[in-house]
C-alpha cells in the first residue's frame, strides 16, 4: 500500500529571544535583547502506512508538536517536503483539511459554555455532513465513548476526561482517514486514559484510520503504537517497533530476587554486587541488572549460591529505558 503520510527531510528553524532569569536578566533583555536560532526539527524523514498507529517519543521541546503542526499545515517547514493523504498539507486547502483531524490536549474546540452537542452540530455544518451520516456517526461515537450522559451538559461542567472524549467525537464526525493527536491524555486519570486508548484502537480497527500521536505517558505508547518515532533535539533517532527499540537501547536485563531461608539475613549488598549491578536491595527483595546475554548463566549462579525463594528475569521498565536513551543519546549506544 502507498504511504498515507510521508515526510522528507522536514526541517523547521525558529528564531527566539533569550533572556537570563531574575532581575538582572530582565534588565539585560531590556537593554540588549539577544536572539538565537533554534532548529526545532532537522531533516526528519519517514513514511506511514494507512491504518498504522504511530507515536512520537521525545522530551519537551524535542520537536514532536512542531512536526505535527507541519503535517497538519499549521506551520510551513523551513525546508523539506511532506505529503498527507495525497496533499501537501500547507497548500492543500479545505480538501486536505477534510481528510484530517487535529486534537490538541491543551487547547479545545468545544465551546466552553454550551453543551458539546452544539459543537458537534457546528462541525456537521462546517464539514458538510449529511443528516443521516451525522446521526449514524454520532450514535457510533457516543456508544464507543460512552457519552450519552454528557451530551447535554455545558462543557464547563464536564470532567477533563469527558471533555477529551467529546473533543475526539467532535473531531471524528467527518470521519477523517487521518488523526493527529497532541497529548490526548494530558492530565487525565488512569480510567479516562484507558478509555481513550481503547477507543482509539476500536476506531482504527473499524475505519482503518491512521493515527499519529504524541504523549508523555508511556502506557499510551505501549498500548497503542505498533511503531514509534523517537525524536530528540529535532532529530529522528529511531523509527521502528517499540520492542526492538528497547532491545537496541538496553543490553541489560533485570533479575528480580526474593531471598528466603532463615539465614538469608547474611546476604548483603556486597555479596549481591558480585553477580551484577544492584539496582535496589531491601531484604528480602533485590533487583540486579546484568548484561542481556549473560542473564541465564548469572541466574543459575545466583540460584546455586544464594538462598532464593523466587527469581524472575525482566526487561527494565520502559520509562527508564527511554529516559536513559535520551540522556545518553541513541546514536552512541545504538550503533
Amino acid at each position: 500500500m502507498a504511504p498515507v503520510v510521508t515526510a522528507e527531510r522536514l526541517t523547521k528553524t525558529f528564531r527566539v529571544k533569550v533572556r537570563d532569569p531574575g532581575m538582572k536578566g530582565a534588565v539585560q533583555a531590556l537593554v540588549r535583547p539577544r536572539n538565537r536560532d533554534v532548529q526545532a526539527v532537522r531533516d526528519v524523514t519517514f513514511a506511514i502506512e494507512p491504518g498504522e498507529i504511530v507515536a512520537f517519543l521525545g522530551p519537551n521541546g524535542a520537536g514532536k508538536t512542531t512536526t505535527l503542526k507541519m503535517l497538519t499545515g499549521l506551520l510551513y517547514p523551513t525546508s523539506g517536503r511532506a505529503e498527507v493523504a495525497g496533499f501537501t498539507p500547507w497548500t492543500g486547502g479545505p480538501e486536505c483539511k477534510r481528510r484530517l483531524a487535529l486534537v490538541l490536549g491543551n487547547r479545545q474546540q468545544l465551546v466552553w459554555d454550551l453543551p458539546p452537542e452544539e459543537t458537534f452540530l457546528l462541525n456537521r455544518a462546517i464539514y458538510d455532513i449529511g443528516e443521516a451520516e451525522y446521526r449514524e456517526r454520532l450514535a457510533e461515537l457516543v456508544g464507543l465513548l460512552e457519552l450519552t450522559e454528557v451530551l447535554e451538559k455545558p462543557v464547563r461542567q464536564l470532567s477533563l476526561g469527558e471533555r477529551m472524549k467529546c473533543e475526539l467525537a467532535a473531531s471524528l464526525l467527518h470521519r477523517p482517514p487521518l488523526l493527529f493527536l497532541d497529548e490526548p491524555t494530558l492530565g487525565l486519570d488512569v480510567t479516562a486514559q484507558e478509555a481513550i486508548r481503547r477507543f482509539l484502537i476500536q476506531y482504527r480497527d473499524r475505519h482503518g484510520a491512521t493515527v499519529l500521536l504524541t504523549s508523555h505517558y508511556m502506557q499510551d505508547v505501549t498500548a497503542l503504537a505498533s511503531r514509534v518515532l523517537m525524536i530528540n533535539r529535532g532529530r529522528l533517532l529511531y523509527d521502528g517497533a517499540l520492542g526492538a527499540l528497547v532491545a537496541r537501547i538496553t543490553r541489560m536485563k533485570r533479575i528480580e530476587l526474593v531471598l528466603g531461608g532463615g539465614d538469608g539475613g547474611r546476604v548483603d549488598a556486597e555479596t549481591l554486587a558480585a553477580f551484577g549491578e544492584v539496582k535496589s536491595f531491601r531484604f528480602p527483595n533485590a533487583v540486579l541488572e546484568v548484561p542481556r546475554d549473560e542473564a541465564p548463566a548469572t541466574s543459575a549462579r545466583i540460584l546455586a549460591a544464594l538462598p532464593v525463594a523466587d527469581l524472575s528475569i525482566e526487561d527494565p521498565p520502559i520509562e527508564e529505558v527511554i529516559r536513559r536513551a535520551f540522556a545518553q543519546g541513541l546514536e552512541e549506544e545504538g550503533t
Binding site: 533572556r19 531574575g22 532581575m23 530582565a26 534588565v27 533583555a29 531590556l30
Partner: protein
C-alpha cells in the same frame, strides 16, 4: 506572615515581570498622551460653541481633566489589575487560592499587583493640572494645596470603595465577569464638572454613584472654588462610602465561604 512582606514579594515579582516588556512603558505613556489629547480636543470642540460649561471656563476644566487623569492612573496601576480581577476569580474558583493565604483578603486582593508603568499617568495628570493653573495665572495657596491633597485622597478612597462594592456584587452575579465595565461607564461622567449636566444626571453622579466627589471637588480646591466646609464633607463622604463598601464586602465574602464550604 507579615502582610507587608508578602505584598512586597508580590510587587517585586511584578516589577521583574513588567521590566521584561520594555515597550510597555513607552506604549503606556503614548497611550495616555493620546487619551489626554483626545479629551482636550473634545473640550476644545465644546468651547468652539460656548464660553463656559456649568460655570467653568476652558482651563478650569483642564485642571479637572488633570485630576481625572491622575485618578485614572491610580485605577489602572492598582485597582484594575488587583481587585478588578476578582469577578473572574470568583467565577473560576481561583479566589480560593487567595482565601487560603493568611492575610486580610480585602487588603491582599486590593494591593497585590501594581502596573507600575501606569503611575506615569498620575504624573502626567498632575502636570496637566499644573499647566492649566499656570494658564489661569493662578498660584494656589498652601492651604489650597493642602485641601487639594485631602480631597484627592478622599477621591481615591471613593473610587476604591466603588470598586470594592462592584466586585462584592460579583459574588452574587457570578455570570457577569465584566462587571468592571459598569465602573468605566459611570466614570466617564467624571470628565466634566458635575454642574455641566442636566438635573437627572447630576443627581445620579452626586448621590447615587458618588463620582462627582472624585474629580469636581479636588479640581475646585485647586481653582479656589471650594468652600472649606466642602473639603471636610468630602472626607466624611469618603469615610462613609468606604465603610459601606467594607460591609458589603464582608457580607459577600461570608456568603461565598458559606456557599462553598
Amino acid at each position: 506572615m507579615n502582610p507587608m512582606r508578602m505584598l512586597a514579594a508580590f510587587w517585586r515579582l511584578n516589577l521583574a515581570e513588567e521590566l521584561q516588556y520594555r515597550a510597555n512603558f513607552v506604549a503606556s505613556v503614548l497611550g495616555t498622551v493620546f487619551y489626554m489629547a483626545t479629551a482636550l480636543l473634545t473640550l476644545a470642540l465644546f468651547f468652539r460653541h460656548t464660553t463656559a460649561l456649568g460655570g467653568w471656563d476652558y482651563w478650569e476644566i483642564v485642571v479637572l481633566l488633570g485630576v481625572f487623569n491622575a485618578l485614572t492612573g491610580v485605577i489602572e496601576a492598582v485597582l484594575r489589575p488587583g481587585i478588578g480581577q476578582l469577578a473572574g476569580e470568583v467565577r473560576s474558583g481561583e479566589l480560593d487560592l487567595v482565601l487560603v493565604k493568611p492575610v486580610d483578603p480585602q487588603a491582599f486582593v486590593s494591593f497585590r499587583r501594581l502596573d507600575i508603568w501606569r503611575f506615569a499617568d498620575v504624573v502626567l495628570g498632575l502636570a496637566l493640572a499644573a499647566y492649566a493653573l499656570h494658564r489661569l495665572h493662578r498660584v494656589p495657596s498652601l492651604a489650597q494645596v493642602a485641601t487639594f491633597g485631602l480631597t484627592l485622597a478622599a477621591a481615591a478612597v471613593v473610587v476604591y470603595a466603588i470598586w470594592v462594592a462592584l466586585m462584592s456584587l460579583a459574588f452574587w452575579f457570578v455570570s457577569v465577569e465584566n462587571i468592571a465595565v459598569l465602573f468605566d461607564a459611570v466614570y466617564e461622567g467624571a470628565r466634566y464638572p458635575v454642574s455641566a449636566y442636566p438635573g437627572a444626571l447630576r443627581f445620579l453622579f452626586v448621590y447615587l454613584i458618588p463620582i462627582a466627589w472624585t474629580t469636581t471637588i479636588p479640581a475646585s480646591a485647586l481653582t479656589g472654588r471650594l468652600r472649606p466646609g466642602s473639603a471636610l464633607l468630602a472626607a466624611v463622604v469618603a469615610g462613609v462610602v468606604f465603610a459601606l463598601a467594607r460591609v458589603l464586602w464582608r457580607t459577600a465574602l461570608k456568603r461565598y465561604t458559606g456557599a462553598s464550604g
